[in-house]
Symmetry: C2
Subunit: 402 residues, 2 copies
């Protein structure tokens, strides 16, 4: 028997469709076509000058490992950051991680063994699918619908999916890819379920401050099931620095923190310089996050306005983050996106969006949906929506005539 095969678990990780489109993007660009990219959550906004200033203060000296539970001053800065959201934490409740991605992986590893199940809501941020495959666990999806603004179903409907192997419920709030925010009723529902069925709640709050109404907060503010909660967080979006690779894992549960610390020690440390760079921003977060949230609100307006002028498109008003899912009057958005990149241009421009299928677990769902990330300025976004409208019209005409 030849054992030189790739493992089952990695074979199950699905390639992101982004990769498939990259060669097509490069070809279009080689032909002199500008591709407006609203497919990835990689913001065009520069980080605060304070980040660069703090970096420069780091003298050319020994670039040693940061301590596994974070550079003390950096971890204390997260601690201070959370006081803005009514959270009193001790440094030992916080472990800085290599982006939210690592916090996610740690949360899944700490709460599950192979064969265990996690309740998620689809469409779902696709890295969870990859990490679940790596962790040999099963994601059990509750399907939400664009037509109902991705509202959660009632307690009983969710409870039906809970088995003896279910260990946790994952929520992303504000949500990627839908841009929705959990209502207080929905949160109560989830906490009821977690308490009743002894489940952990993994709450991914990467987009906390990017909300367009009300005050930002955290599920951790709710004391009832606090010991069951793991918060995964990130500096990437709120401070517009995803390349810094700094996030954190937070929990009031000492057993969770002890377990996460073991994982943190195995991987040694998160990057040293960026931990220093983020200290001033974590110490005084709101100035920066208020500015960018105002900007994203304007952008949302431009996208929604543009989408509403396209016949047959179903969309809704997202309340946070910088994404939305739109249903298009096409059968297969992957095919449509391929068309946009290979056979369409308007004044030497086209767009790149993400096919939503990647965000679903249930086979066949999301094929007529796309995710838009509003990571360009309003002028470009307005133009992008016109391109989408024109592209759709041309695509439909061609399909009818073929």
């Amino acid at each position: 028997m030849n054992k030189l095969r790739i493992s089952q678990r990695v074979s199950q990780v699905i390639h992101s469709p982004i990769r498939k489109f990259l060669p097509l993007v490069l070809k279009a660009e080689a032909k002199g076509i500008e591709v407006l990219k609203i497919n990835v959550g990689d913001p065009d906004i520069e980080p605060s000058p304070k980040f660069w200033q703090a970096l420069k203060k780091f003298p050319p000296q020994n670039l040693g490992y940061a301590p596994s539970p974070g550079i003390a001053e950096h971890t204390r800065a997260w601690q201070k950051y959370y006081t803005h959201f009514g959270l009193k934490l001790k440094p030992e409740n916080i472990i800085p991680t290599v982006g939210c991605a690592e916090a996610m992986l740690f949360s899944l590893l700490v709460t599950t063994d192979p064969g265990d199940e996690i309740i998620v809501f689809e469409p779902l941020y696709s890295s969870y699918k990859g990490f679940a495959a790596v962790c040999n666990i099963k994601l059990v999806p509750i399907t939400l619908r664009v037509d109902s603004g991705f509202a959660l179903p009632n307690e009983q409907t969710i409870a039906k999916k809970i088995t003896s192997r279910t260990k946790a419920i994952v929520v992303v709030n504000p949500n990627n890819p839908t841009g929705t925010i959990l209502t207080s009723r929905e949160i109560t529902r989830l906490i009821n379920l977690a308490v009743k069925h002894h489940l952990f709640i993994i709450t991914d709050e990467t987009y906390r401050e990017i909300i367009f109404k009300g005050r930002p907060g955290s599920l951790l503010q709710i004391t009832r099931a606090r010991q069951q909660m793991i918060l995964v967080d990130s500096a990437s979006k709120r401070f517009s620095c995803p390349g810094a690779r700094i996030g954190c894992l937070v929990s009031y549960n000492p057993a969770i923190m002890a377990a996460a610390l073991k994982l943190a020690m195995v991987r040694l440390s998160a990057p040293t310089l960026e931990q220093y760079g983020l200290i001033p921003l974590l110490n005084n977060p709101r100035a920066f996050t208020r500015t960018i949230t105002r900007e994203y609100k304007k952008r949302r307006g431009a996208v929604i306005k543009g989408l509403r002028q396209i016949p047959g498109v179903t969309c809704y008003q997202p309340q946070g983050a910088f994404y939305l899912i739109a249903k298009l009057p096409v059968k297969n958005t992957e095919d449509f996106i391929t068309f946009l990149l290979t056979s369409f241009q308007d004044k030497k421009q086209t767009i790149l969006v993400t096919p939503a299928e990647d965000f679903y677990i249930t086979e066949g769902l999301g094929r007529n949906e796309i995710r838009i990330a509003y990571v360009l300025d309003t002028k470009k976004l307005t133009r992008a929506m016109i391109l989408l409208k024109k592209g759709l019209a041309e695509y439909q005409t061609r399909r009818q005539s073929s």
Copy 2:
């Protein structure tokens, strides 16, 4: 049933003993005692000024995600780096990672499924133990002995440990924690086994250039079983910048690279700035690595000279990296290290070393051994060996009188 337990896999990760000693170190330091720390592989040598210069050239701009397969210029710099060791690679054979740690995790995930086995040689760099627990795989140790300079046993002895579940052999070369280098006979033996039994070889070459005789190289230079090899590598030690968290995974096998790329995409990217910082060093590595290797050779001399003056200590001449394992005339080195930190001082100084037990998988092995990391200058190392000698003498006297 209360399901709110920490997972089995993370429960199996053993806490590093370093953590246990940290409070004792802090207590000693609070009493005004200087603790010479030769316990962790965190070099005192500053990175090259070229690293800082390259960082400064990065303008205060969008700090976006690096591409998952690395920033093109950075990946090409690794490609150029490897030409110094006779390796012709394409960019698609290289994925920059978050330190060697991530490359290690990717290698294990790509080659194994839960329940699979990996052949390792103990004493073993302890992160492999942690990652194996996380991956739900079994490390099957071949025990090497300090008395025979950690030489590998013959082919038959190793073959006896191979089962239907064995997927790979892991080697760390030059070795942490032993400082040994595989002989060409040993390498042939391993390749024979890999070919015969269809096993992957995961070769961790973090310390490639830090060798005290001969020319540095790579197992990948051997063409025979090239498709079965995964190289895990790191900029941390050779460029003295562990806090940069940059390593890489290399393979000539396209299936391995495709699988590793999927994992790289799930975790998004390695830090952006440090990828830029390392470009000039990777493009011209030898100037820096030659200088530090000379320094480590001097340090090795100081440590060996000191150890040979201590009665009852067994040691050998390490050939690379900056570690060695020494057998001490005590029953339990953890107890001895506790003594050094709590009940010993000489002119207000003491030392911290690592108990070697942490590097063994077989229960009970390594209890009378320590690992020394020569990460201080020769003067301090000479003094550290005197402290070890005096500490040992005092410890033995107290044990006899108690």
